[in-house]
């Protein structure tokens, strides 16, 4: 049984449905310091709950996580997700990139494809970023998002933990 998750192609990347074989590199990422700014460091059990719930989002909400792969080699590079868990005030665009895939503009390229797809499909879109995560702030700004000091935060989070970048031209 397959969920009909849309496949998006860019010049160098393919965004496709998450598959079981993506879990091993995803879990290795979650166990590393690189997860500090997103999920926090997670053991395999926690990483699975993240991975599976992002995949499950598609049938519940009509959007969710794509696995990002290199079109030329098929190598798994990370995830791009539009997510709206129950404690978020609005949908969020998020990204996770494997260390070996950094510094080549892959996250920007994949996020642009996801943003284009999201237009007209969600009423609004923000990115929640931990203050101090300079790479993600730079990416949000490259995508044209603007800091929104007045936006509601996820339940239980304060401005010391989370800042909100609002993506434009979505609705």
């Amino acid at each position: 049984m397959i969920a009909a998750i849309p496949v998006l192609q860019t010049e160098r990347l393919r965004l496709r449905a998450p598959r079981l074989e993506d879990f091993a590199p995803f879990a290795a990422h979650c166990a590393s310091d690189r997860a500090t700014f997103s999920t926090g460091r997670l053991d395999r059990k926690g990483a699975w709950a993240e991975f599976a719930s992002a995949a499950g989002s598609w049938t519940l909400l009509g959007f969710g996580a794509w696995s990002v792969e290199d079109r030329a080699t098929g190598t798994y590079l990370g995830e791009i997700m539009i997510q709206h868990p129950a404690h978020f005030p609005e949908p969020e665009l998020g990204w996770t990139l494997m260390e070996h895939a950094e510094g080549r503009g892959y996250a920007t390229e994949a996020a642009r494809a996801a943003l284009d797809w999201a237009k007209g499909r969600v009423a609004s879109l923000v990115s929640y970023i931990t203050p101090g995560n300079a790479r993600s702030v730079a990416l949000a700004e490259r995508l044209g998002a603007v800091l929104d000091m007045g936006a509601a935060l996820p339940d239980g989070e304060g401005p010391d933990e989370t800042i909100v970048y609002r993506h434009r031209g979505i609705a």
Partner: protein, 181 residues
């Protein structure tokens, strides 16, 4: 737009329709997770909407990743979702589990879980080809222990548990041959 899982099974029993989770099931599930009724599940899960969502989306995402999963039990007479049950095999689980939870207190004591598990165990053995199954149960969860015993499960002292806590009980279901006999 909607994205649907294709070819997912729908099982029916005398009083229940069992199907994959849908968005409308979330609020009843969330009420369960945020109640004291969840104390025996997942090592006493955190009781808020964040954890409820992750657990609910996890149950849903298990389907496309594994090709099988947990069903929502719908009371045919009211149309209301009353619980979830069925095949469960997330990462770090030592072996295939048949799980169950009844969400609403008013749905308890009606043998819904027993009725569901008879059909779901048949589904696991006949449709999924499982050769064995266990249920992991909190030692203080007397209702679930009683149900496991009613289903013919036997307590196994040496089987590994997903939580590594040395406390979770492992009940082994009768084999496919024993169930058919």
């Amino acid at each position: 737009m909607t994205v649907t899982l294709s070819n997912t099974p729908v099982l029916t029993t005398e009083r229940l329709t069992m199907r994959v989770p849908e968005m409308a099931d979330f609020e009843p599930f969330c009420a369960f997770v945020c109640s004291d009724r969840v104390r025996y599940i997942g090592g006493g899960a955190d009781k808020d909407r964040l954890h409820a969502w992750r657990a609910f989306a996890h149950i849903t995402g298990h389907w496309p990743l594994r090709g099988f999963g947990t069903f929502v039990l719908v009371d045919k007479s009211s149309g209301a979702p009353v619980g979830s049950a069925g095949p469960w095999f997330p990462e770090c689980w030592p072996e295939h589990e048949l799980g169950w939870t009844i969400w609403a207190p008013e749905a308890e004591g009606k043998s819904f879980a027993h009725e569901a598990l008879i059909a779901l165990r048949r589904h696991a053995y006949a449709d999924l080809g499982w050769t064995t199954a266990v249920s992991y149960i909190d030692p203080e969860n007397a209702r679930s222990i009683a149900l496991a015993e009613r289903l013919g499960c036997r307590l196994e002292q040496t089987a590994p548990t997903p939580f590594g806590d040395g406390q979770t009980l492992v009940y082994r279901h009768p084999s496919p041959a024993e169930v058919a006999a």
